[in-house]
């Protein structure tokens, strides 16, 4: 039968259309079948210092052994990232490889079938499961299966201006009360000077702070079951020490540590205040090192969040968030995607990664050889000395509870909710979240 036969009859046009669609679908099926065709991997990551350069170098190196694979990086601003990635994954054009933090959000994408199970692909020759330690692999494990390639970990420290501290003979605080005292001393030196700027317009800055304060006040054992939503409905988040933890934030505010309008100040503004030496301290992630270095400000040192005399923690722990890449379940090139992401954690790439990003790489093999700043070396040593580590609330909690904790930070800081009221809202969200988890959503 020739093609012309299709055009006869009243529904001829319709059949032609279907024939065309069919031809089109066999065409695409053909192209995926041929492995030698050039493959373009779409990769999404956060807007980060040095990141495009890093991925470009990695791609060039990777292409030496895999000339048919190309990588296209798209950088998404932090604030929009979580939503943007979710919209993209639900849609028909998701990225093949995407950045994510280890935690509930990554696990939720795994449970809902949006992130690919890479347990077997990851174990193939040369891939990440043969390189990284079991502990690191746990970062993206859900029910014993692997859903992501951990690349590095970030932590959170107080940064201080060493020149300012020397000049005014200020000492690194050994307790939380000394930290409050430090805020007072800075205000004595210059009433207009903000001791510890807080840019909470995107809500996560205070969320990081309260994560650490919760640990310092309650200790890790007291919070574990609540965070995992495993406590009974009438007991969840009822420990009065959660309110006490919010009280510590208010104490910092009362000690004049923060500037006016923290909820309307962006994280970048607060960072700029520190790097422009307008403020002498800031609570910032380890990723801030590369930002300050790039801006040409290097007169800083770091200290860990000090313990509290009335708290359950001895201060030997810190927040450490593993992060890495997940693969979209809809990716047409999962093998290449896992291979490329695995390439990022090979010894040489991990070293470059650590150098350019100031992050703690998941593959520590060549960290000793790297060209690191004094501050980075100090951080690497400090993270290595921690007795235990914990994740941050907004990536570890169930989505609804995380949202409530983020919002309550704003309200407590604003004075529109008391710590007790805030915990009431969080409890309600936690009970709701338990229901959702039980329903398998």
């Amino acid at each position: 039968m020739t093609g012309h036969a299709n055009h006869k009859g009243p529904t001829g046009w319709c059949r032609t259309l279907m024939g065309g669609a069919l031809a089109l679908s066999t065409l695409t099926a053909g192209s995926t079948a041929m492995a030698a065709d050039p493959v373009t991997l779409k990769m999404w990551a956060l807007v980060n210092e040095n990141y495009p350069e890093l991925i470009q170098t990695a791609t060039e190196e990777f292409r030496k052994a895999n000339p048919d694979v190309n990588v296209e990086l798209e950088s998404i601003p932090n604030e929009a990232y979580k939503t943007a990635i979710q919209v993209a994954l639900v849609g028909s054009e998701p990225p093949d490889i995407f950045f994510n933090w280890s935690g509930e959000d990554a696990a939720r994408l795994a449970r809902s079938g949006l992130a690919l199970d890479i347990t077997d692909l990851g174990a193939e020759e040369g891939n990440y499961r043969n390189v990284l330690s079991e502990a690191w692999q746990q970062a993206f494990a859900v029910n014993g299966r692997q859903y992501g390639i951990p690349v590095d970990a970030v932590s959170k420290y107080f940064y201080y201006n060493t020149r300012f501290f020397d000049e005014h003979e200020l000492k690194v605080p050994a307790t939380f009360d000394q930290l409050l005292g430090l805020c007072g001393k800075v205000r004595e030196i210059d009433p207009e000077m903000v001791p510890l700027p807080l840019g909470n317009s995107e809500r996560w800055k205070l969320n990081h702070l309260i994560t650490v304060i919760n640990e310092r006040v309650l200790g890790l054992d007291a919070v574990r079951a609540d965070y995992a939503l495993e406590t009974a409905d009438d007991e969840i988040f009822t420990n009065p020490d959660y309110e006490k933890a919010w009280g510590k934030v208010l104490a910092m505010q009362a000690a004049d540590c923060f500037q006016d309008a923290p909820n309307a100040t962006s994280p970048e503004v607060s960072r700029s205040l520190f790097s422009a030496e307008i403020s002498p301290m800031i609570f910032c992630g380890t990723w801030c090192m590369s930002i300050f270095d790039k801006e040409g400000f290097t007169d800083y040192a770091l200290f860990r969040f000090p313990p509290m005399t009335d708290g359950a923690s001895d201060g030997s722990t810190n927040m450490v968030i593993p992060q890495g890449f997940q693969i979209s379940a809809k990716s047409e090139h999962p093998a290449e995607a896992v291979k490329f992401a695995s390439f990022l954690v090979t010894a040489d790439m991990a070293r470059l990664y650590a150098e350019l990003r100031g992050a703690i790489p998941s593959n520590p093999e060549k960290v000793g050889e790297m060209d690191a700043t004094e501050q980075f070396k100090w951080v690497a040593k400090d993270v290595g000395s921690l007795s235990e580590s914990f994740s941050v609330l907004d990536v570890m909690l169930e989505a609804g509870v995380s949202e409530a904790y983020l919002d309550m930070g704003v309200e407590v800081l604003n004075g529109s909710k008391t710590p007790a009221e805030a915990m009431g809202v969080i409890r309600t969200a936690a009970v709701e979240g338990k229901k959702k988890l039980a329903a398998g959503q």
């Binding site: 807007v47 798209e74 601003p77 639900v90 849609g91 028909s92 054009e93 960072r271 700029s272 422009a276």
Partner: protein
Amino acid sequence: MGSRFRWVQVLLYGFVSLWSLFVLLPTAWMVIGAFKTKREFFLDPLGMPASFDFDAFERAWGTGVGGFLLNSMFVTALSVLVIVVVSAMAAYVLARTDNRWMRLVYLVIVAGFAVPVQAVIIPLFQMVSGAGMLNSLFAIVLPYAAYGIPFTIILFYAFFLDFPRELEEAALLDGCRPVKTFFHIVLPLMGPAVASAAIFQAVFIWNEFLLALLMLTKPAVKTLTVGILQLGGEFTSDWAAIMAGLSIAVLPILTVFILAQKYFVRSLAGLGK
């Protein structure tokens, strides 16, 4: 009486001048901000820049504002074209035919006028995504056209009710089919109504944000609204670059508006009629 009259007039001029100033100052501040340094922003938010160089414009342009501008132009032009042609065709039939089916069709289309895209964004996104329409400048034209059609049909419907039938009848006597009559006789006479509808739709499509945010995620296809939001996220504390990017985005449409303001005003004021 004369002096009282003058007093009132001073008062009235004062009021509109004050409002004009309220409108102009933020716009002027945007342009001036593009020339300020970060330090100048911190130390003297109200002050003028020490020097006028175009570095910030270069930084903003480097993120692809030019491409966003072209994408917006393309999407707007194509959508408006589709809306005008398709709506005119449908409105013509609806105005010239009176039976139960046509009344039902008109009702469906009028109901579509009231549906805001925000209220159906979830299924709409799933549909366009399922159909493989993401990241395509051609594909986004279809929903844009769909949401512009109902109001345009309502406008054109009113126009056709007033249109002299004698012209069409003469054409039909000459043996023209209705389709030919429409394209050769009616469409060429629709000038003012088309201009008015086109400007109205162009303003809305040029500024549309939600669909563009969800459907256009690749940098190469982003339109201006989504592009400048990304600019805000990328430059975070580089306010000069943000202001430069905004200036590049806003000044062209403002220029077009000032040149053709009579038509803009007439078109948008038509909504009240």
